[in-house]
Structures are given as structure tokens and as C-alpha cells.
Amino acid sequence: MINQKEKIQDHILDSIGEGVFTVDKTFRINFFNKAAEKITGFNKEEVLGKFCKHVFKSDLCFLDCPISIVLRNNKNIYDFEAKIVSKDGERKPIRLNSAVLYNEENEPTGGVISFRDQSEVEAFRKSLEKDTNFYGIIGHSKAMKEIFELIKEISESDAPVLIHGESGTGKELVANAIQKSSRRNSKEFVKVNCSVFPDNLLASELFGHVKGAFTDAHKDRLGRFELANEGTIFLDEIAEMPIQMQSKLLRVLQEGTFERVGESITRNSDVRIISATNINIDQALKKGSLREDLYYRLSVIPIEVPPLRERTEDIIPLINHFISKFAIIYKKELKELDDNALETLMNYNWPGNVRELENTIEYAFVRTNGATIHSSKLPAIIRNYVSNSSVKSIDECVDKNCERTELLKILNRHKWNKTKVAQELKVGRTTLWRKMKRLGLAEE
């Protein structure tokens, strides 16, 4: 009877797509399903009875075995990233879940690990990274290149950074790049969106609380500043933080100290602060919704992320990046935009910035069955905007910025073929070159 039951269980486990293996309490493998065979390249017979570390040869076996984490913390783990070595010697990225098996006396008698092969996802991530310029940020424009340069320059510093930019410009990506290139990159990186917590909960979220501090405080809880100790904290939408909280944050910046809610013990935390906002800072300072002293403390290194309309040279690389991304996500062939669609996108002013462009490409991508995305597949709001706004001639521009933006649009439309651009502008190639040089476009 038991045998029959076990056979059914094995059959079920063999039929699932995730690799599953179990170990006894000495970490010898005693079950290995079909998907595990496929992912690792080992046959069941080759691994049964062997120590799992001898089969998987993962660094984790020696550093932080997932089953030992569960044993220590009494909590199963999910989606844990690891690398194993397959039978043919290839290092494979996996994501795993881990749990411990107990006997009737509640003593651990074994462990179970289920895992998924992440090789394809990893390859996809790498291929996208190849196309990007800097830690996942696409930026061919001068303004973005300057930001990349600045991030490299400050990599040795722990000074607070304030990132300012319109919604959707990629402030969080900039924060990620700062953290990844900093000397704290191996430590915790904690992110808090200051606008999503009610006033009374934000203090507890940032600084923690002790049991009984308020109605729902059933036990002590660490705050984000303690969790981020020795690492970095990213405070998004910092200007949305209530004014009382701003004074507490100022103290952390000045002294590195704080108290948990409901406790009088002063605690220390060594945290590098990166913050971001999309509001008009001058107005917020005038209005008093952002403390001036806090602002100056936070913005030791200010970074302004330009809106997409001011860096139209990034539009085509971003479009290509998003098309590649959605081709993999939706398992469809790569597509390209026809000239009309491209022109429409180049002439739109992108109030929602890169995020809006990404959404637009996804929308058009899923609506297109063939290999070419036509302008008719773009969102109506964008088509209407572009058709209603008269195309501005470069001659109509009154300042250098406008002239540069309009010339960029034409250059992009003609894929930087200067003969075609000169023809459209009805000027000679030398005049065009002088104009490009004057507008800082000659080398781009």
C-alpha cells in the first residue's frame, strides 16, 4: 500500500516542470525527479545516495546551503538565486525553493528543493544588458552620458545623492546604478517609497517599532534604516514625506541616529542615502512642504535626469531595446517600426517619458501580428497628438534647445543620413555640419 502511494507521488513529481530532489538528514540525495535530470544532466541512478554538494557543486553548499537556512530560521525559502554545475560542467543559474521535512517528533529528517533553470532568462538579461549603456540604463545622449560619468566619479563616495526628474525618466534605474557602482554594492539595498505609507506608519517603516508601540505592533520590528545598515537606502518621492518625518530624517543624516517608535534607546545606522523626487523643488521649498536644511543635506550630489523629449537621440535605442524585450516576453518574432510609426514616436512629446514609451511599444507590439509595427497600431492618444501638432520648422525655433531638438528629430528620422537631412532642410552638407557642430550634435 505504502509502495503504491510512493509510486504515485513519484509519478506526480516526475510529471512537473520544476526540478525536485530530496535529501536525508545527512544530505544524501534520496529522490531526483525527471525535470531535475533534464536540468542537471545527471541520471537519477548517478546521484541517488550521493551527497548533494558533490552533485550540484554550488558555492552555496559551502556558504549558505538553502536547507540550512530553513533549518536555522524555521521558514521555507522561495525564489532563491543560485548557481549549480551541470554534468557537462556548465554553470547554470537557477531559482529554488527549499523546505525541511520533519518526522512525528518534529525532528528534521530531510530536505526538499525544487528548482527552475534560469539559463534562458539570464541569457535574455545579458543580451539586454549588452544593448544598454550603463547598469541597464539606455542612454546615448550627451545628458545621459554625463550622468553615467558622474555616477562613476562618485563611486568611492558615501555622500547623499538626490535624483530629480519627471515621472518615468528612470530615477530608480539611476539609483540602482549608483548603488551597484558604489563600494557598498555587496551590502543591503533597501528601497522605500515615502508616498505610499500613511504618516503614522512611515516612522515605523523607516525606524522600526517595539512591541506595544501602537495597536498593531504585536512584536518588535526592525525599520528600514536598521535593515540597510552598512548598505544603502533609496527614499523615493522624498518630497512627499510628512514634515515631522523630515526632521527625523534630518537627524539621521546629521548624526546617524534614530529611535524605534515606542522606544527611547538611541540607535545608530551607517547608511548611504539616495533619494529621488519628481516635484518642482523650488516650489516645494517656497511652500514649506520640503525643509530647506533637509534638501541641502540630501542633495550633496544632485542628479537631474532629463525628460525624454530633451534627449530624443535615446528614443530609437530605447525602442529597439523594448522591442527585443517584448519579443522574448511574448515569445514573438522581432518586429520593426515602419517609417510613419517611427516619425510619430519621434514627434511625440512623451510627458510620461521612458515608462510611457515602454508602454506604447508593448501596446503596439501585442497588437501587431506581422513583422512590422505600423503607426495605426500606436495608441490613439499619441497619433492624435502628433497629427494635431503642426510640425515645427527649425527656422521657427527661438532658442538653441528647440533648434537642437528639432534637428535631432530630423536626424533620427533619416537614421543620421546627413545627405537626406540636408536635402530636407534645403541646405548644403557643410552648412548642416556647421549647424550640428554649433548644437553639439556633430560627434553624436
Binding site: F27, I67, E107
Partner: protein, 159 residues
Amino acid sequence: MSEMLANQYFMARKFLEAEIELEGVIEKNPSNKFALKKLVVCYTHNNKIEQALKILLELITDDINFIIDTDPIDDDCPCFELINEVEHKNLYKNNSPKYFMMLGIFWLYCNFENSLINFQKALQIESENKILIKLYDKIKAYSDNVHSMEIRSEDRSIN
């Protein structure tokens, strides 16, 4: 304390953590031979030689083969790695009794004759160490027995 966690620490060669877990396991079940066998290695590695010798003596008095028959691969025994560490990393003063005792303990899991040589050297320096004497005698008796059996079997094959 969990034997399984102790096993993992031992497997990952985290001997300090393994020692703490194993002590807890032994406290609950003092006759757990598998845990004791590992604890000897941990104590030796963690420089608690006297404690290691004491447990080792108990174990070999009960069943010397339980230690001697250890397989480096099948039992994931770290003793070869540890012998290499003791002999080549200059962590311990060469020719000190502790140095020979460490090697004597580790070698017993892999090769009883090498173990005997090292315990003998330790005894030459620490001739009054009672546990060491008893341990040496047990291994010597085992070694003599093995050799006499070998001689008998050779005689039989000649005849």
C-alpha cells in the same frame, strides 16, 4: 539543536558551528555515535585536543572499525584535507605533542598505521598522558592483530 544542521555545517567544513550543534545533539542523545565521530573531528580542528582524545578513546573502545573504516568520499570525511592543512599550513608548531596528536586523530580516520606513528611521537614527548597511552595501546593492539592475521593468511597461502 538539530543533527541535520550539524551535518550541514560539517559538510560545509564550518567546524566551529558544527561543534556547537553537535554538542547539543550529544546532550540530547549521548550515545549518538555518528555525532560523536564528527565531534572528534570538530574538537581536533578547533584545537580542543583533550576533549577529542577522550571521545575518540570511548568510540574505539566500543568499536575501532567504526572510525577506521571511514571512507573519505562515501562518508565525506574531511580528514585528508585537515591533515594537509596541519602538515603544510604551519598552523601548529611542528614536533609539538599537539601537532602529533592532531595528525594521529585525523590519520585514524584514513590510515591507522600513520595514526599509530603520530601517536607514538606524541607519546615520546608526553609519556604521562593517560588517555594518550590508552589510545595508543588500543590502536597498537588493533595493528598487531591485523599484522598477525596477515602473516597467518600468508602462511596458509604458502602451505
